[in-house]
C-alpha cells in the first residue's frame, strides 16, 4: 500500500491510469527479478543434494508415499518445483526444509534401530492423521503431497503388518523398593514421585505399535476433577502418571505385564509451567529410574507429540468415569 502510494507520487501527473499500472508492474517485476540473485544458501544445497535412498525394509508403495509427500522437508535431498526456487518463496521453503530435517531426517534411517524406525513411522502416521503433516501451507502449493484415503490405508496396513505381538523376556517378581531417595530429578528439576502406584487408574492402553501396555494413574486432585467433569483445562495440582510395561505373551496368546519400561508424569501448574503448556513434563526409564533426556529441552519432544490433543489440554487419555 505504502509502496504504491510512493510510486504514484513520483510519476508525472499527466500519465494515464493504464500507463501508471504498466509502469508499476514493470518495477515490481524488476524487483522480483533482481531478488532472484538473493537466494537462501541451503536451497542450492538441497537442489543438488544426493537423492535420499528408499527406506530399507519398507515396501515400495510406502516409500513412494513418503518420498512424494515428506522427503522434500525430511531428507537431505529435495525435489523442488520451479516455483519453490523463486525468491521470496524459496526462503519459506528453505526454512521449512531446515526445520523439518532438524526434527526428522529420513536420511538417517539406516542408523536407526528397528524399534526406532517403527516409532518414527507411527509418529509420522499420527502426524498425518492429525492434519499437521505435510504442513498445510505446503499442501496449498503442492496439492499432490496431500495424503489421500488410499495412501493412508496403505500406511496403516503396513504398520499393522509389522506390529504382530512379540515375545519378551520373563520378569522376576521383586519386592518393591520403598525408599526412592536415590532417584535423580529430571533435567528440568522435577522430582520423582514414587507414590503413583497408590493412585487410581483412569485408563489402560494396549500399545501394539511398540509392544507395551500402560496404566494411566491420577492423583487425588485429578480424580476430584474427573468426578466434577472439570478436566478441560485440568485444575492446578492435577498430576497424571503413565507407567509402561512390555507385553509378555503366554502360550495361549494372552498378554500380561512384563518388564517395567518407564513412568512419566504431567504435572499441572498453569503459572509455574506456563512455558510448557501449563504442564511439568518428566520421565524416568528402566528399573534404575534414569531421568530421561539429554538437555532441559527434552520437553519439546513431549509437547510436539501431544500437540494434536491440545484442545484437550494436551491430554490424550479419556478417563474412566470414577464416580
Amino acid at each position: 500500500m505504502a509502496y504504491k502510494f510512493a510510486l504514484c507520487l513520483t510519476l508525472p501527473h499527466n500519465t494515464t491510469k493504464m500507463k501508471k499500472k504498466t509502469i508499476i508492474l514493470l518495477i515490481l517485476a524488476a524487483i522480483v527479478g533482481l531478488a532472484q540473485f538473493i537466494r537462501p544458501d541451503n536451497i542450492k544445497k538441497y537442489e543438488n543434494g544426493v537423492k535420499t535412498e528408499d527406506l530399507a525394509g519398507v515396501p515400495k508403495e510406502v516409500n513412494e508415499i513418503l518420498r512424494n509427500s515428506c522427503f522434500n522437508c525430511h531428507s537431505s535431498s529435495s525435489e523442488l518445483a520451479w516455483y519453490d526456487k523463486i525468491t521470496p518463496v524459496s526462503f519459506l521453503v528453505a526454512s521449512h526444509i531446515q526445520e523439518g530435517t532438524e526434527v526428522l531426517n529420513f536420511k538417517d534411517w539406516m542408523s536407526m534401530s528397528i524399534a526406532k524406525q517403527k516409532a518414527v513411522l507411527y509418529y509420522s502416521i499420527n502426524k498425518i492423521r492429525s492434519g499437521e503433516m505435510p504442513l498445510s501451507s505446503y499442501i496449498l502449493a503442492h496439492p499432490a503431497a496431500k495424503i489421500n484415503k488410499n495412501q493412508m490405508q496403505v500406511l496403516e496396513a503396513y504398520l499393522l503388518s509389522i506390529s504382530a505381538r512379540g515375545k519378551t523376556d520373563s520378569v522376576k517378581l521383586k519386592a518393591l523398593e520403598r525408599d526412592h531417595k536415590w532417584v535423580k530429578p529430571a533435567l528440568n528439576g522435577i522430582a520423582y514421585m514414587p507414590d503413583y502406584r497408590n493412585w487410581k487408574a483412569i485408563s489402560t492402553t494396549d500399545r501394539f505399535d511398540n509392544g507395551t501396555m500402560r496404566i494411566i494413574f491420577a492423583n487425588e486432585v485429578a480424580v476430584a476433577a474427573i468426578k466434577a467433569k472439570n478436566i478441560n483445562p485440568w485444575p492446578d495440582g492435577s498430576v497424571l502418571a503413565k507407567a509402561a510395561w512390555t507385553q509378555e505373551i503366554a502360550l495361549d496368546g494372552s498378554v500380561s505385564t512384563g518388564q517395567f519400561v518407564q513412568v512419566e508424569y504431567m504435572i499441572k501448574d498453569s503459572k509455574k509451567y506456563a512455558k510448557t503448556e501449563g504442564w511439568g513434563w518428566a520421565r524416568w526409564k528402566g528399573d534404575d529410574l534414569r531421568p530421561y533426556g539429554k538437555t532441559i529441552n527434552f520437553t519439546t519432544e513431549c509437547i510436539s507429540c501431544h500437540r494434536p490433543v491440545r484442545e484437550n489440554d494436551n491430554v490424550f487419555t479419556i478417563p474412566l468415569n470414577l464416580k
Partner: protein, 159 residues
C-alpha cells in the same frame, strides 16, 4: 408471564446449543465405566489397580483391582496366599481403537466384573457380574479354573 417463560426457555436452548455444553461431549470414557452399581457391592474401578492383561483372541483387556489388603499383600509377598478380608476384582472390557492415537487400543464397554473374596474358609468365594447392568450370573462349570487364573496374576512390577 407465559411469553416471558417462552423467551427464557428459548434463551436457555440457545445457551445449550452454542454455550459451554459442547466441550463436555466426550470428556469421559462413560461407556467403559461402571455408572450404576446395581448388584455390585462397590465400584471396583475405585480400588487399587494391581495388574493389567490383554486377550488379543477376544479383543478384550482386563485390569485386576484389589482393596488395601490385597495391595499390601502383593507389594510385600511373592505368593498368592491372600489374607482373609482380601477382595479382588477382575474387570474385563471389550477393546476399542484409540481414536486419538493410531497404534493403541483402549477400554470399550465393560463386559464383566468378577469378584473374589478371601475369608476364613479354604476356598475363596467367586461371583460373576455380567451383561447390561452387570447382574449376578451363574458360571457354568469352570469357576475354579477362573479363580486360579485370576489369583495367579502377578503384580505389574515397578521399581
Amino acid at each position: 408471564m407465559k411469553k416471558l417463560l417462552m423467551i427464557s426457555t428459548h434463551i436457555l436452548i440457545l445457551i445449550n446449543l452454542f454455550g459451554c455444553g459442547q466441550s463436555n461431549v466426550n470428556v469421559l470414557n462413560e461407556g467403559a465405566s461402571v455408572l450404576a452399581l446395581n448388584e455390585l457391592p462397590e465400584n471396583p474401578l475405585l480400588l487399587h489397580p494391581l495388574s493389567s492383561s490383554i486377550n488379543p483372541n477376544n479383543n478384550t483387556m482386563a485390569t485386576l483391582y484389589g482393596n488395601d489388603l490385597a495391595m499390601d499383600h502383593v507389594h510385600a509377598n511373592n505368593d498368592y496366599d491372600y489374607p482373609a478380608g482380601t477382595i479382588l476384582y477382575e474387570v474385563i472390557w471389550k477393546q476399542k481403537p484409540d481414536s486419538l492415537w493410531f497404534g493403541g487400543n483402549i477400554p470399550g464397554e465393560v463386559l464383566s466384573v468378577e469378584q473374589i473374596v478371601f475369608n476364613d474358609k479354604i476356598k475363596p468365594t467367586y461371583k460373576l457380574y455380567k451383561g447390561n447392568g452387570l447382574q449376578v450370573k451363574q458360571r457354568a462349570k469352570d469357576t475354579l479354573e477362573r479363580v486360579k487364573l485370576i489369583i495367579s496374576q502377578r503384580l505389574a512390577v515397578s521399581p
